[in-house]
Amino acid sequence: MNSPGNLANRRKVIAAAVVIIALIYLVQLFRLQLLSPEYREYADSNAFLRRTLYPARGAIYDRNDNLLVYNRPTYDVMMVVREMEQFDTTDFCRTLNIDLEQFNRLDADMRDRRKNPGYSSYTPQLFLSQLSVEEYALLQEKLYKFPGIYIQSRTERQYNYSGMGLVLGYVAEVDKNKMAADPYYVRGDYVGKSGIELSHEEDLRGEKGVEVLLRDAHGRVQGRYEEGRHDEAPVSGKDLKISIDIDLQLYGEQLMHNKVGSIVMIEPRTGEILCMVSAPAYDPSLLTGKAFGTNYRSLENNPYKPLINRAIAGTYPPGSTFKPAQGLIFLQEGIITPETRHSCFGGYPPLGGRPACHGHASPLAIQYALATSCNSFFSYGLNGMLSNRSKYSGTVEAFDVWKDHMVRMGFGYPLGVDLPSEKRGFIPNSKFYSNVFKTDRWNAHNIISIAIGQGEILATPLQIANMGALIANRGYYYTPHVVKEIKGGALDEKYTTRHESGINREHVELTVAGMADAVTIGTCRGINLEPFMEVCGKTGTAENPHGDDHSLFMGFAPKDDPQVAIAVVVESGRFGATNAVPIARLMLQQYFRGEIPESDRWLENSVINREILPYVYTRNLPVRQHEPVKPQEEQ
């Protein structure tokens, strides 16, 4: 078919085929190497292992520079399955203080990809976490006997004092929601979960660093990439100095032992919180280390709910401690003058003696009404304000004016303390009552109980203490806060901004006088420290539908140049004078003298030994539990 001459032409066909294929390959190379940047990314994610370097979490000091929280190294046992050879399992188990059954379970857990999605037999896998120093030392010595076993060090929170768990908070492994909300966190990171650890997480945590390593197809690390030129060193977390006085705090917790309630002390000049006791308290060391899980569950199941910080998340009717605030509003609004007198006949006459009152001289003006905690006086006051038609168009407007004053004094909304889960308490507005009564035509007599801090009114111990600070300052306050200083950082401006209450100073002075009288001649004589110091105070006895009345106290000292404002709440502690006042007295003694004088020792003993545990409700049956939380023995 073809002549030899034609055949010689076939060399051209073959040469053409060779050239064409070479060109096709060149185009493909061009495509792969110059037009597809994704291959470089693939290669990088393949080959580079970006190992996180964890920064040290910031330490926490109290206001007197006592170290409260620091980091302690702890040790995890890591296993590289591929490198393991036969070894003496019994010896291994004995070293780690586990039995063979636990060994097998830990081994199975480690290999189970459902529990450990990142399992690889080539890379170190967590076998057992948080060895004690003794176990670590023992294992380190025998490590040569166990090929494939490595020890990895980590840090763990450590506490010098056994109190204040709620304020400090705890750290634990980050959860899914947090990871989704903040890309900084990855699985296995530790993050603050409550208290200061949570609210100051970003100051405490520092910045993670990274080390770029090369790894092979099996995930084995082969070395550092370009001698660590792309590594970033971690930045340590900032140390915090908190305003709490740890001695005062621990003393408060001691006084509140076997009781439920709260003590809050604030330095009025700055808004710094000196102590924030919430009882029952727990030892922060319970929520660290190996026993975290069991301890957390037992705290969670305790009927007295030790994981709730009652100082900011417990809301109580403030009772009579609310009266100074009421009086200030009536004075400011001109409803009463310092001389306005109302009569009291053991109760509020217009409503047939309700709310009831106790024996004292009558009629009386505001100063004496505060001293004797007269219910009738403040009922008259509220009625006078809400039915004043010359000043307000109606009850609704009058009530909203009242409410605005309350809010400016720090009630009804979270104060903004630098701790998580602060509650707002409750100050109703006019709309609330219009909804309840299904009409705008309600009057003061319908809601008379709020005149004496009962009814719908709720406040947190912190808000009550803040009211004390406001009065101590003669009309303004600083947002209460626990962190005094961030080392190498600045405090949020909101903690250095003065909040005015809008109440004239002369009205506050009158209230101070009333509260001073309450201590000298009135309801809280139990806290009279004269001649050592002039104390101002106001007791409260709040009705508790679930049991005995709550015992409350609000005050500050000294009267002129106040150093400290205080609020005490003892749940089911009955009269304010019974429990809250003695506790406040001892706290003031401790704060100002640094010790309890001999004359008060009997009181201290008596208070510490009191057991006031309210009923707890399990399936609607009141049960009195005799299982208070005991702080761990100090190590």
Partner: protein
């Protein structure tokens, strides 16, 4: 009659130093890249340390140079005289290997003699080439005589079968590449065309087998259109008539046009049926042409048409039932139907990542992360081109590819300038083998060809293959040296 001129004149012939230069360049570049590919970050061995791959390759290189030197010293007539004996010995060795060899990586192709591990299949390449050259060189040999066709087919297919039995499919395909020699020596182009057409049908049929066009798959639809176009082209090419060529395409186009218009008028058109109708009409037209002109070629084209259609219909059966699952997977990955980066596509995926990450200038010698960290398997043997691509980028890999292109064209030139049929056939065989290796190996690494494990000559690590390629090349240079200049 073949070697004219005196012995002295023959001995004075010059060695083709250009080819020797290519050889030395490739071997040295290969050696450096083997060093880079097997470089271990933690315990790096030196370039010259024979406990490492590079050092060992140096040993193979040295012995290859001695071998090359020896080959150049042997009288050129020796190769032709003993070609048949060599071939028989080679076949015998393949048989022995098949029986004796232990399985290594799933293949029974390694013969272990003391410290030496040899792959006889590698050496069979030049033995077949010599044998073919000798047969073609017999007086008055004409390929297209039936007896000769059978002889030549047997020479190639016998070792193919033995090597497939050793599970070295890649090497068997290399032997088959000698069809290029047959083409040069007179095998009609239609054979190659039929082969090409079969590959195209196969690829289309498999790649587009899951999308349906009416009663047939998209692949079948496209192939049917191709069959009609090919048949029409054949009419023009073999019968030198352009009127029937045009008429046939017009018939097919008319059928589609009618279907298209009908579909506009609201009739539901089955495009698969339409394509089948067009094919049938074309076939009928061919039958008509045959009865009108009484020319055998029309019948042959009809045969091509029928054969193509039958082949197309059997593709799916062959693919699904005759191929092993891993072979199916490799083909699917190559055709881009599967993106299985951890399974069958792992090699190619990782090798594309390695090459692609090289960019324009590459990461630099010994800096390839994919390479160092053993992401690409067989990095220093079959996938050596990855290392070049990753560390030297587009510039480096393009230069190597172009050098290879020049090298193969040089071999083509050498083959063509031979004065004997023996020399020319051997030259073409050498060129075909190198060309095929390049096409398959580089094509596989850059993801164009399916994964077929054959080395890149002179670059891939391995003693047998380097020896084999050295022998192949230097016998050609020996023959070229003593060709008579007319």
């Amino acid at each position: 009659m073949i070697y004219q001129g005196s012995r002295e004149r023959v001995e004075k012939g010059k060695i083709d130093w250009m080819t020797v230069g290519f050889y030395l360049l490739f071997v040295v570049l290969g050696w450096l890249n083997i060093y880079a590919a097997s470089f271990d970050l933690e315990n790096a061995t030196g370039l010259f340390d024979i406990s490492g791959r590079a050092g060992m390759q140096l040993v193979w290189m040295g012995s290859s140079l001695l071998l090359a030197f020896a080959l150049m010293k042997i009288d050129v007539r020796f190769y032709e005289t003993y070609a048949f004996l060599f071939y028989l010995a080679g076949i015998a060795l393949l048989l022995i290997t098949l029986v004796m060899a232990k399985e290594i990586n799933g293949s029974r192709s390694w013969l272990i003699i003391g410290p030496l591990r040899l792959q006889p299949a590698e050496f069979m390449k030049f033995l077949i080439a010599l044998m073919l050259a000798k047969v073609f060189n017999t007086y008055g040999f004409r390929l297209m005589e039936r007896r000769n066709l059978i002889l030549v087919s047997a020479i190639i297919l016998l070792p193919v079968i033995l090597v497939i039995a050793q599970s070295e499919t890649g090497t068997a395909l290399v032997y088959l590449s000698l069809i290029l020699v047959l083409y040069r020596e007179g095998l009609p182009g239609s054979f190659l065309f039929a082969g090409m057409a079969a590959i195209i049908y196969f690829v289309l049929g498999i790649k587009f087998s899951d999308k349906m066009v009416g009663v047939i798959s998209l692949g079948e639809f496209m192939t049917i259109l191709l069959i009609i176009i090919f048949s029409a082209l054949m009419i023009r090419n073999y019968l030198k008539r352009s009127k029937p060529f045009r008429t046939m395409l017009l018939i097919a186009a008319a059928i589609f046009l009618v279907a298209y218009i009908l579909s506009f008028m609201g009739v539901t058109i089955n495009w698969g049926v339409t394509a089948l109708a067009a094919l049938t009409a074309s076939a009928l037209y061919l039958i008509y042409l045959f009865f009108r002109y009484r020319q055998k070629n029309y019948l042959l084209i009809l045969l091509f048409m029928a054969g193509s259609f039958l082949f197309l219909e059997s593709v799916e059966y062959v693919f699904d039932d005759l191929l092993q699952p891993h072979q199916q997977m490799r083909i699917k990955v190559t055709l881009g139907m599967e993106q299985d980066l951890s399974g069958a596509g792992y090699h190619v995926g990782q090798s594309k990542i390695a090459i692609g990450s090289g960019g324009l200038t590459g990461k630099g010698f010994l800096n390839g992360t994919q390479t160092k960290l053993k992401y690409v398997p067989e990095q220093d043997t079959d996938f050596i081109f990855c290392t070049i691509g990753e560390e030297h980028g587009f510039i480096g890999s393009a230069i190597i590819l172009l050098l290879y292109l020049v090298f193969i064209l040089r071999l083509l030139h050498l083959a063509e300038r031979q004065t004997t049929i023996f020399g020319r056939v051997y030259g073409y065989a050498v060129m075909s083998i190198f060309f095929f290796h390049l096409v398959i190996n580089v094509g596989m690494v850059i993801g164009i060809m399916p994964v077929i494990g054959i080395p890149l000559p002179f670059f891939s690590y391995g003693g047998s293959s380097l020896w084999g390629f050295t022998i192949l090349l230097f016998i050609l240079l020996r023959i070229d040296k003593s060709r008579s200049r007319l």
